[in-house]
Symmetry: C2
Subunit: 206 residues, 2 copies
């Protein structure tokens, strides 16, 4: 049995969708950020890094979005969420996911999580002011250099797609006009029509 | 043929060591940050994200450290740099590498690359002041929660080891006393004795 620890509005949406795409049998446990439940003793015992998503497996826990996504793809190979037989194509999937995690998600995080990197309230406000510019630059890169279409990697739906979808939903809140990126916007609409995404929405995962 | 684009002092050291561990036949091309060569027209044509490392393969380029490391492990399976037959063990390797890329490297980057996230010089200075505290917190997490020993994942040397080694070498510059983390310090000394690391040093990769 798999158990996904998730919080609506966070990047846990990506593995949540991947689990549905895989047809996985899983439980979901909501971690409530409004009560700072991620810092509770019980949750820190599961994930000392106090973050979601976390995937509990029979063998132990996995944190980090990219690691969870690759695990889901490997555990449910019939869903074909990563072209595992092709090491170069797999590398391009991981390249995209790593860019999402280590650049795009970080650009966004400077809006709400500035305290991680600065103490001065004015420094934190300055970071927040730069978020729209940085997120727009990231999505310009995705739109013009990385996105193939109709899915991120071209014809095959992969773990890149829920990752992009989850972060693209932050653009309005980050004060970026999504219509500047028509390919990514069309992808977002395409994603919203998938049964997996509808299922996660119905379960409160977004 | 493989070609690694690298810059001494950067995270390109990690895949550089992995290539040596794998016994790979590869060329190396130095990208000179002192002349901002990463923003040259020629390099942007290879990597529009203007970063190292980049690995050129017969099928195309791969950016992002974690993606390059996994590719090297898959291309040279006899080197056994990731326990590929065990999907959970593979997930734990990816979890560690993702933490290094999306948390530890980012904590460090606020020293030299603050302009990515703020414009105000005082904000950038405030970020720089917090780097020692953040890097120490990351290494406390690694030392107490993640590192198994003698290698990161226990008995097997994996791609996690060059990744940790490359970042641990930044601790002095980040004003963190490495002796606070004796397991990671012993790992660093153990790494420095490996032929792969000595080979990269001799080739100017660090």
């Amino acid at each position: 049995m798999l158990r996904l620890y998730f919080t609506p509005g966070t990047i846990s949406l990506a593995p949540h969708i991947a689990l549905e795409e895989a047809g996985a049998d899983y439980e979901q446990v909501k971690i409530d950020f409004s009560t700072v439940q991620q810092n509770s003793e019980d949750y820190l015992a599961l994930n000392p890094r106090a973050r979601v998503p976390l995937l509990m497996t029979d063998e132990g826990s996995i944190s980090e979005t990219l690691a969870i996504l690759l695990y889901i793809a490997q555990r449910f190979p019939e869903a074909d969420l990563v072209p595992l037989a092709d090491r170069f194509a797999t590398a391009k999937v991981m390249e995209f996911c790593s860019y999402m995690g280590s650049t795009v998600h970080i650009a966004h995080a400077h809006k709400m999580r500035g305290r991680r990197w600065a103490d001065d309230p004015e420094a934190i406000e300055d970071m927040q002011r730069k978020v729209p510019e940085n997120m727009a630059a990231c999505f310009e890169m995705i739109e013009t250099q990385m996105f193939q279409g109709p899915w991120v990697m071209g014809g095959q739906f992969t773990i890149c797609d829920p990752y992009l979808f989850a972060i693209a939903r932050w653009l309005e809140g980050d004060k970026v006009d999504h219509s500047r990126f028509p390919k990514v916007l069309a992808h977002r609409i395409r994603m919203a029509e998938r049964p997996s995404v509808k299922a996660v929405m119905a379960k409160g995962g977004a």
